[in-house]
Symmetry: C14
Subunit: 95 residues, 14 copies
């Protein structure tokens, strides 16, 4: 297998692993936060707006870790800095 194919294979596998494994924690954490928000609104309907605002800030904060993973996966698939590097290295080795 050529070096470029190796890099491609690793990048594909890592991208999938990153985005799938990286969805585990945020999804569970958001589920917990949302469940608490729903219970809280049921308990104190008058504070619904405060609770919603707090929930959305929290969800955004938790979602950010999932976004990191998605961004890294996209970088690996579409803007992988090592692909050109390896191509050049191969060429300079062959040059």
């Amino acid at each position: 297998m050529t070096d470029a194919a190796m890099i491609a294979a690793i990048s594909i596998f890592t991208a999938g692993l990153t985005v799938s494994f990286g969805s585990l924690g945020p999804a569970l954490g958001e589920g917990r936060a949302a469940a608490a928000a729903l219970n809280a609104i049921a308990q104190q309907p008058d504070s619904a707006s405060t609770l919603s605002r707090t929930l959305f800030v929290s969800l955004a904060m938790i979602e950010s870790t999932a976004i990191y993973c998605f961004v890294v996966a996209m970088i690996l698939l579409f803007a992988n800095p090592f692909v050109d590097q390896v191509v050049q290295a191969t060429q300079s080795a062959a040059g």
Copy 2:
């Protein structure tokens, strides 16, 4: 095995792994959020509309991490950026 076949095999395996593993967290998180919403509505039926709205926003937020995984799997299967690359690399190596 040729490089293209290797890339194909990795892509197939990663696509399946991504979408199946990536469904674990969101499904559990959504189940938790939905359970909390149902309890909350039973406890405070008057706030059902507020609770439903909060639930749907939360479900959408959690579902988004599953969507990321599905999108990555679809990209790997139908728009894999490395497939053409490797084909070209192979051709240029053979050229």
Copy 3:
């Protein structure tokens, strides 16, 4: 083993893994949501219709992640984009 057989073997294994692993989360999540709905109806029988509607929306949302897995498995078995590709690559290599 020829390349086509390798792709076939990987696709078969991945299809089974995807659909079986992908059923774990949704089944547990739906079980939790359904359990909460049943408790809620028992607690507040008057809101049964609201609760049922909320439950069905939630179940559909959770089931969607299982559907993603089933779709990917079906694509791998019956509409695998890499099978033709590899066949052609093999032919062009042999051509």
Copy 4:
């Protein structure tokens, strides 16, 4: 080992794995839903018919993920699309 035997071995193993692993989640989820239904009926016997209906819809929904796994296993054993393909590929390679 010939390619056809390899495909057969993978298909057998995957079919068993799929149906056995795929029974874990649904069985646990259905157990949870049924337990909740039994508690709910004991708590509110007057709503038994509503609760039963909700339970059966939920069980059907959860069972569907087990059915997906069973269907995939049956396809792998009795209607495997890759078996003919590989046979033909082998023949064309030998032709």
Copy 5:
């Protein structure tokens, strides 16, 4: 090892794995459902018949996933579709 022996070995291992792993979920789920039924009958003895009926439907539903596994194991041991196939493939290869 001949192909037929390989298929036999895989089938034996898969049959055992399928039926043993496939008994984990249903047994736990049935245990949970039965426990809930017993608590419910103790709490509301007047509804014993309704509760028993609901329990038996639930047990049957859960048991079905174990039955799937047992059926697949029996198919693998006594009606394995790949055994004849492989024998023929071997013969045609040797023919």
Copy 6:
């Protein structure tokens, strides 16, 4: 190692694995059901006969999955359908 020895080794290992792993779920499930029955009898001694009957039906249902495993293990040890097959295949290959 001859094919027959290979089949024997796999059968022995699978038989042990099946019966030991297959005892995990039923034992835990039966323990849970029995515990619930004992609590229920203590709480409602007048319904002891109904509770006992329900318990025994449940135990039988749960035990059935352990029986499946034991049956498969016995088949593998004493009525293994592949043993004769492999012997014949070996003979026909040597014939």
Copy 7:
């Protein structure tokens, strides 16, 4: 390593694994049932005889899965059906 030694090694390892792994579930399940019985007797001392009877039936049922494992281990060590078979197969191959 001769075939007979291989069968012996596999049988020894499987016997130990079977009996040790097979003791995990029954021990935990019996512990749970016994704990429930002790709580129940403390709560309702007048029903001690009914509770003891129910406990013993349950323990026997749970213990049965451990017995299965012990029986299989003893068969593997002292009445292994494959040992003679393999010896004969070896002799007929050498014959």
Copy 8:
């Protein structure tokens, strides 16, 4: 490595594994049963004798699975039926 040494190595490893792994479940189960007995005696000191008797029967039942493991380990170390067998098989092969 000679066959006898291989059998010895496997027997040593299996004996240790059996007795150590086999102590996990019984120890946890006995701990649970004992804890329940102590709580029950504290709650109902008048039934201490009944509770003690029930506890001892339960402990004996649970301990039995640990005894199985210890017996198998002792058999493997001091009365291993395969050791002589293999020695004879080796001699007859060399004979």
Copy 9:
């Protein structure tokens, strides 16, 4: 595979692993903190501002560990100190 390609492959895999695994703990921890905050606000709406401030400080503290992981992943992808080093080492070895 050249050294540079090896370094590239390891860096890609590590970057994905770091950011995905590193999102598990923070997401769960933030979910817990947010859930507690929502419950607390519902319980004591008058202290909402104090609670929000405490929540945001805590979220920032927890998020910092996810940031560490993201930073390390970015360093590995875009400012990897070993890439130049290895290139130079290779050149000096070839020089």
Copy 10:
């Protein structure tokens, strides 16, 4: 590596594994029993002697499984029955 060294290596590793893994269950079980005893004495100080006696019997019972492991480890280190056997087998093979 000579056979005797192999047996020695396996014995050392197994002895350590046995005694360390075998301490997990008893330690946890004893901790649970002791915790229950302490709670029970606090709740019913008048029964302290009965509770202590029950606790000590239980601890002895649980400790016994740890003793089994320790005994097996000591046998493996200082009275290993296979060591002489293998030495003799080696000598008779060389004889």
Copy 11:
């Protein structure tokens, strides 16, 4: 692969593993501490300042273990003591 490349690869992998795995415990621990603080403030708003101070000291203490990991990762990437050492060793071996 040259020694320097090997050291680089190990350092990269270890740095990522260290910082990602090392964020799991602190993030969960801080989440727990923050959740307790929020509950405590809601319960006793008058002690908010004491509680905040205690929380910040605790968070700093917990964060310190994450800092250790980050420091080690940075040392491995940017001030690795073995890199120069190995380079010199290689040179002295080549010298």
Copy 12:
């Protein structure tokens, strides 16, 4: 690698594994017992001396399993019975 070095390597690894893994159970068990003792003293300060005595006996009992592990590790490091044995076996083989 010589036999003595092999034995040394195994002994070092096993000693570390034994003492570290063997500290897991006792530490958790002692933590639980100590926690129960502290709660019990807070609940019933008048029985502090009885509770302390019971706690110390329990801690000693639990600690004993950790001591077993430490003793085995020390034996492996400083009084390993196999080291001389192997040296002699090596000498007699070379003799």
Copy 13:
């Protein structure tokens, strides 16, 4: 790979593993202790100073195990006793 490089690689990997794995337990334990302290202060604000003092002693005790890990990692990176040893051994072997 030279011996020195091997020692360096192992040291780097072990240092990272030690400090990251060693942060898991202390972080969780400190989180639990801090959470209990915060609850306790909210419950009994008058004892805040006693509680703080007890908390800090406990945190120091728990932190000490993390410090052990950090110290070992630093020793491995900057004062590794085996590095000189191996260099000397290599020189004496080459000498």
Copy 14:
């Protein structure tokens, strides 16, 4: 790799593993004991001195298992009994 380097590598890895894995249990156990002590002091401030004394004895007892691990790690790094042994064995083999 020379024997001495092998022993060094194993010792380094084992030392790190021992101290890091050995900190898991004690840290969690101490966290639990400290949490219980803090709750107990809040509940019964008058017994603070008795509770503190009991806590410190318990912490010392639990810490002892972590100390065992640290001692073994230090022995492996700085007073390893096998290092000289192996050196001498190597010399006598070369002598």
